[in-house]
């Protein structure tokens, strides 16, 4: 009997903890959804569910004349996608060279990458800001993308090199015997086998620009060039509270698609992370 009672107490306590966590997690989400449907520009009512729900804020952010939101969304997607594709290409090249070839400077290169990976990415922040200001340039997406891709190289090269090292070298050697060239071995033999790590690197380099605030904030000056992070921050900070409902609508429209996307890829992401982390 006592074992059974123990089990009931244990499970009830577990469910209680789960309930509390669920409330803490879901409350802010419900609150912001409520806020996005609250009429007017500011929040005065204290109820979670607005009394006269309205879609006006969603209409506002979809109206290009009233808000830059759609432009920011497009900018963010564009920057993130281009960063993702370019960094996967550059990193695959570099990682493959380091994994499969002996060349002058290979070892020094690896050590340099290791050191660079440790230097936090903001170390260059002042330089980027000062140069951007002094030269009066860099209010461009291309500049931002270059910085993202360059910054991604050291860490992701190590990550991918670790994976490529685990693909048997006999495969390339037998292909070479059969007369395959360097590029062909790389594209037709190694890359298909490296799909899991390519997915991880791609995901990393999509998420980083998507969620980055600091670099985008430093480089982008004109509102029509903003990314979502900079734009939304601007929206709330300009006159705090007075645009909060619009902001809430905007954030709901980011959070929902990204969450769905994320939850469907979640398993992959976790395995990739632990595998990469353990293997280095």
């Amino acid at each position: 009997m006592s074992i059974k009672r123990q089990k009931i107490i244990r499970l009830s306590l577990t469910y209680l903890v789960v309930m509390i966590m669920a409330v803490i997690i879901i409350y802010p989400i419900l609150w912001v959804i409520g806020a996005s449907m609250t009429p007017g520009t500011s929040l005065s009512s204290s109820s979670l569910i607005p009394k006269n729900p309205t879609w006006e804020h969603f209409k506002t952010i979809f109206n290009l004349e009233k808000s830059n939101y759609l432009i920011w969304y497009w900018n963010t997607l564009k920057i993130s996608l281009i960063t993702m594709v370019s960094s996967v290409i550059v990193i695959s090249f570099t990682a493959y060279a380091f994994s499969r070839y002996q060349f002058i400077g290979r070892k020094h290169g690896l050590v340099t990458f290791l050191m660079l990976q440790m230097i936090p990415n903001f170390a260059a922040l002042i330089a980027i800001f000062v140069l951007a200001r002094a030269a009066d340039l860099l209010d461009t997406h291309a500049g931002l993308i270059l910085i993202y891709v360059g910054g991604a190289i050291p860490m992701n090269t190590w990550l991918m090199k670790g994976y490529l090292d685990s693909i048997p070298k006999e495969l390339d050697e037998s292909a070479r015997m059969d007369g395959a060239g360097h590029m062909r071995i790389f594209i037709q033999i190694i890359m298909p086998l490296a799909k899991p790590i390519i997915a991880v690197v791609a995901l990393f380099n999509f998420i980083t620009p998507f969620t980055d605030f600091i670099l985008a904030k430093v480089i982008l000056r004109s509102p029509e060039k903003y990314t979502l992070a900079v734009g939304l921050y601007d929206l709330v900070s300009r006159q705090y509270g007075s645009e909060f409902t619009t902001f809430a609508a905007g954030s709901v429209l980011i959070a929902i698609p990204i969450s769905i996307l994320f939850l469907s890829f979640q398993k992959y992401f976790v395995t990739g992370l632990t595998a990469g982390g353990v293997k280095g």
């Binding site: 089990k7 244990r10 577990t14 903890v17 966590m21 669920a22 997690i25 879901i26 802010p28 609150w31 912001v32 979670l48 290409i89 090249f93 570099t94 493959y96 060279a97 380091f98 070839y101 060349f103 070892k107 290169g109 660079l116 440790m118 230097i119 903001f122 170390a123 260059a124 922040l125 002042i126 330089a127 000062v130 140069l131 002094a134 270059l146 360059g150 910054g151 190289i153 090269t157 670790g162 090292d165 360097h182 969620t211 605030f213 992070a229 939304l232 921050y233 709330v236 900070s237 809430a248 954030s251 959070a255 969450s259 939850l263 979640q266 976790v270 395995t271 632990t274 293997k279 280095g280």
Partner: protein
């Protein structure tokens, strides 16, 4: 007679290669020689001016206003140094090549023909070709800015020393001295640094503890509805962090935020100054970071737990271990072993977690007697010094100190992982 004749092609070729290409031509590798000659010639012609200005600029940082902009001169100087290193590398490679092929001729080994040279070029050149795009990007986007910051920390570049009104000068280690001797700088530095440490350890430890706790809790065999519970618990990770932080900034807002107006109100507690009193802002920040960060740990540890073989626990049960002992001696060590490297990256992540500090309350509230806000961590302080106060030199000095700390921690961490031992690097 041929055999007795001593040749000295190696030495002659090296000597001639002081002008790159001549040695190769002497070795009768005409194609290579001419390519080398052209490369050298174009290097000198194209880069002559920038090398000249760069070296002059980096030493003097400009002499005459408004002609000289010290900051540009500094950048030219760095480019000149990088170009010199690059040129020297090529020069050494050329000398070695000339000597090697000359030696081959001395020993009577036939040199590769033009066709052979082409093949070697393709074969040996391939890895260089592969790393070229990454290499150049890295030089200009990562290495050049880092060197720039390093040098900037030894200058007096700030609001009062900038083009076109003033030149910037080298000031040696004055910025570093100021940081430790001038009262306002020293106090701010100590306050910001200690809060950064408390923040890093507090927030990270909470998120790790909560994540591990929940993962172990949900992993109980007889618990129903695991899938839905896990999905809910992972939600905060699924929402982009900047969105959640801005939402929390609204929730904690003193005039309309639900925490004060709804939750605390219902509990009969008066409004709390979340945004205007540093201590409360700090508590809110640690709470939010725990909210944001635990799902990642939870997901990772859940993965580890599911990989632990059931037999271990069965054997422990037979030996009479209770639940706590099982956790203490089986689960916990295994979790730690599998996730330690990632757990440490969580600490470095929060050490540099600019987003949450800045987006929540821009590092505020302001505090008298120091030039940083009450919740500014080092990185957000650096950001403010750069962007609003224009104290570039000081910001650079603090960046260097900060980077040194992060690098030391990372080095210590990487010495413990195996990945680099395979490469014989450390």
């Amino acid at each position: 007679m041929e055999k007795v004749k001593k040749t000295n092609h190696g030495k002659v070729a090296v000597t001639l290669s002081v002008i790159p290409g001549l040695g190769q031509i002497y070795n009768r590798q005409f194609l290579k020689g001419i390519v080398f000659l052209i490369l050298t010639f174009s290097f000198i012609v194209v880069f002559k001016d920038i090398l000249n200005i760069g070296y002059w600029g980096i030493v003097t940082l400009g002499e005459e206003l408004p002609r000289d902009n010290s900051i540009f001169l500094l950048v030219y100087g760095i480019i000149a140094i990088l170009l010199t290193i690059f040129g020297l590398g090529f020069f050494l490679f050329n000398l070695r090549d000339a000597y090697k092929n000359g030696k081959k001729r001395d020993l009577g080994i036939p040199l590769s023909t033009i066709k052979g040279q082409y093949h070697t070029l393709i074969n040996e050149g391939f890895p260089y070709l592969m790393i070229t795009p990454g290499f150049f990007l890295l030089i200009f986007v990562v290495i050049l800015p880092i060197i720039f910051v390093l040098l900037l920390s030894f200058t007096n570049y700030n609001l009062y020393h900038q083009w076109p009104a003033k030149l910037v000068d080298w000031v040696g280690i004055e910025n570093y001295l100021k940081l430790f001797t001038l009262d306002i700088w020293r106090n701010t530095f100590i306050n910001v640094f200690s809060w950064t440490i408390i923040w890093t350890f507090g927030a990270t430890t909470f998120q790790i503890a909560l994540g591990v706790f929940l993962a172990v809790l949900i992993n109980q065999k007889d618990l129903k509805g695991k899938a839905i519970i896990r999905t809910i618990l992972i939600l905060p990770w699924a929402v982009p962090a900047f969105v959640s932080i801005l939402i929390f900034a609204g929730l904690f807002n003193e005039s309309f935020g639900a925490i004060n107006t709804t939750i605390l109100h219902a509990l009969g507690i008066g409004p709390i100054p979340w945004m205007t009193e540093a201590a409360w802002t700090r508590i809110a920040l640690i709470f939010i970071q725990t909210w944001l960060g635990f799902p990642f740990i939870f997901a990772m540890v859940t993965g580890v737990l599911q990989a632990i073989p059931e037999e271990l626990y069965e054997a422990a049960t037979i030996d009479g271990a209770n639940m706590w002992q099982k956790f203490r001696h089986i689960t916990f060590p295994l979790i730690l072993f599998a996730t330690a490297p990632i757990l440490i990256t969580q600490y470095t992540f929060n050490f540099n977690n600019f987003n949450i500090i800045y987006l929540f309350n821009t590092g505020g509230p302001a505090i008298s007697g120091q030039n940083a806000g009450g919740t500014d961590i080092l990185i957000s302080w650096i950001y403010n010094l750069t962007v609003t106060k224009q104290e570039y030199g000081m910001a650079a000095a603090i960046t260097l100190i900060l980077s040194t700390v992060v690098i030391l921690v990372s080095l210590w961490q990487f010495r413990k992982t195996n990945a680099f031992k395979e490469e014989d690097i450390m």
